[in-house]
Subunit: 214 residues, 2 copies
């Protein structure tokens, strides 16, 4: 199964493409925005495709051809401002959903944000970001795709532990990016995560077990 | 029929509340954000309610109680930046839709933007704004409400002429705000506009006729 990773140069994306590359079940294509990002991936033997989330649905679909699953872990980041939040985190995400629909790529994993489904729990400081994530998630849920929406807590750069807490709501607030990548990998073929959205933070349950008991 | 005008202090909103006040078919409640905006409306004999689109769905619903139709013509405007575009033009609009659903107010008119339904036609300079309008419209169309989505061209302050062009696409690019207000008024009970979205610009057809032939 070939997986398109949208946002491959992001911090979760980098972990994820490596995990997919090392796996036996999957092959990976890294979607990148700039030609000069190619080399770092190709040195690792990872296929790349250059495409922008500000481009059309057709262009995004072109970059996904031949894949059987799409992971959206792109984000405009804190530095670019809320105009890019609208264009990338919301419209870019939805265009990726529409590209998958167009190609008949059924499996779609979205990296969202803790409690993005509940306005009353949105972090005041990054509320506009939450609005974008919320509506991207809503469109995905209303699609016919076989989605999984993973809503991680505050992202840390420290090494993953493989131990998490996952559910509709969870005790805890943070999680290493490496663990989010592992959760995505473990979710891809885990039918218990199909058509499901859930929070994830660091916890006391091994990832496969946490996903099995959602 | 009492109509809640959300965005009553906006330039379309001001025209609209006056038209509603002068009409025989409707009464009007102006939703305003600040206490100090009350007086200007009350001097005209127009009922007001103070509420913020950054508040909860419940609070917005509270302000709509007793109304039988809602018009959303609020906008964060160009001065506040795209963070408010996300909070007001997108999430504020959707919260208003949800408030109407909650109260069982079936009739909902949304003021959108020319070609908001087609990404390829979005104005490059205000693309983030278009993203917000697009997704607010999408949520409304997916609701059970009896909606009308009016997508005006570039808004002018000159007096209205009452002559427009309306349709899925239209020739022309601008329209006076006063005419948009008249179109809203004429749409409220025009069943030919129910569950419909359309562009409007200045044209050669009287408003009632243009709406009849959509």
């Amino acid at each position: 199964m070939k997986v398109l990773v949208v946002g491959a140069t992001g911090q979760i994306g980098r972990h994820l493409v490596k995990l997919l590359k090392e796996s036996k079940e999957y092959t990976v294509r890294a979607m990148i925005r700039k030609e000069e990002q190619k080399e770092a991936f190709e040195q690792l033997g990872i296929e790349t495709v250059v495409a922008s989330l500000e481009d059309t649905v057709d262009a995004i679909a072109e970059s996904a051809k031949g894949c059987e699953a799409v992971v959206f872990t792109a984000g405009s980041g804190g530095k670019t401002g809320p105009d890019k939040t609208l264009l990338i985190d919301l419209d870019g995400a939805v265009k990726t959903v529409e590209a998958a629909e167009k190609l008949g790529i059924n499996r779609f994993i979205m990296v969202s944000a803790l409690q993005a489904h509940r306005r009353e729990n949105w972090n005041e400081h990054i509320k506009p970001y939450y609005v974008a994530k919320h509506y991207a998630d809503r469109v995905l849920m209303q699609s016919e795709l076989n989605y999984t929406i993973i809503r991680p807590g505050g992202l840390l750069n420290e090494p993953g532990t493989g131990m998490i807490s996952a559910g509709e709501t969870v005790p805890g607030t943070t999680i290493p990016r490496e663990d989010v990548a592992r959760i995505i990998l473990a979710s891809l073929n885990e039918d218990n995560t199909y058509k499901l959205s859930f929070d994830v933070v660091s916890g006391e349950t091994p990832i496969p077990d946490a996903l099995k008991t959602l």
